[in-house]
Symmetry: C2
Subunit: 151 residues, 2 copies
DNA sequence: GTCGAACCTGAACAAAGGTTCAAGTCAAGC
DNA sequence: GCTTGACTTGAACCTTTGTTCAGGTTCGAC
């Protein structure tokens, strides 16, 4: 096994940056935030295993979806320390994001419909509007002075 | 007309904050950013006309949709200086946001589908993924070393 | 053994969208 | 006319997601 030419060669930060398209400064930042890990050489330089490429890609793809880094970190934290992520892991992670995206799409659709209703009804009745008053605090607090446009 | 009890009473910043639910600090910030305007008393305190309530509500609703303040400012800047906004104005503004929201919903749906495809296809083939490589820079640069997961 | 490129760290800066604070001024009720 | 709460300002601070810079170290090739 050790005689095979597949020596999992480690990457420097520059190589990882070049291959992933992510600037080295961002990779250091991700490490500070606990999203990726690195081994250090005797001279304190970072070395990355090949699995890190895939993790960085996952981070970028997730982030591109609008997922905050903290959420990505929480998911990546489930990865076993040195092991390469399993297929099951990626599938579960993607299901997380899928649910997240669906929720976000639904929310946007609801907001669009409400906004249209607010503006389009002819009376400009913002005062009942869930957009202006998110979380429906209005109803919970009674007919007090917090009401917008008490007209 | 002047004997009517409907004297368009001006609001202090505290009153506007109380009625709109928006903190006074945010109202001052909005003014600095050019989103709302105020008259000043002899003693330099802010006074707001009643139309400002509606403008603030519009700002909050728009912002709640995720529209950046600069875009909201650009739309509100179309309002005539002292005049109350017309119905036409609100309708046109809402059409703007509607288009914006629809575009955002579509984009999220596309991303969700791509992400699912990436993860779910069984080969974990991120390398062709538009999420990992947005803007398709990969294809434009040829088969160089920028490719993720050149496996 | 020497040279330059790549790497290290911490600190400062950026943009968006504000909040909080200190120190001082205004408005209004009694 | 005094007191008190509301208001004024600018400056500093906050979060998120990084970039840039200064000053110093290490790696690898010759």
């Amino acid at each position: 096994m050790s005689s095979l030419p597949v020596e999992a060669k480690e990457l420097t930060i520059g190589e990882l940056a070049g291959r992933s398209g992510v600037p080295a400064s961002a990779l250091r930042f991700y490490e500070r935030q606990g999203l990726i890990r690195s081994r250090r050489t005797a001279g304190n330089q970072r070395r990355y295993g090949r699995e890190t490429l895939r993790q960085v890609a996952f981070v970028r793809a997730s982030h591109h979806l609008g997922i905050p880094l903290t959420a990505i970190r929480d998911v990546l934290a489930l990865l076993p320390e040195g092991a390469a992520p399993t297929r099951e892991f990626w599938v579960r992670a993607s299901e997380c994001w899928n649910a997240e995206l669906n929720a976000r799409i639904e929310r946007l659709e609801r907001m669009r419909d409400r906004f249209t209703e607010c503006i389009g009804c002819g009376c400009l009745s913002f005062e009942q509007c869930a957009l202006v008053n998110p979380g429906d605090k209005l109803g919970q607090e009674g007919p007090g002075p917090r009401r917008l446009f008490s007209s």
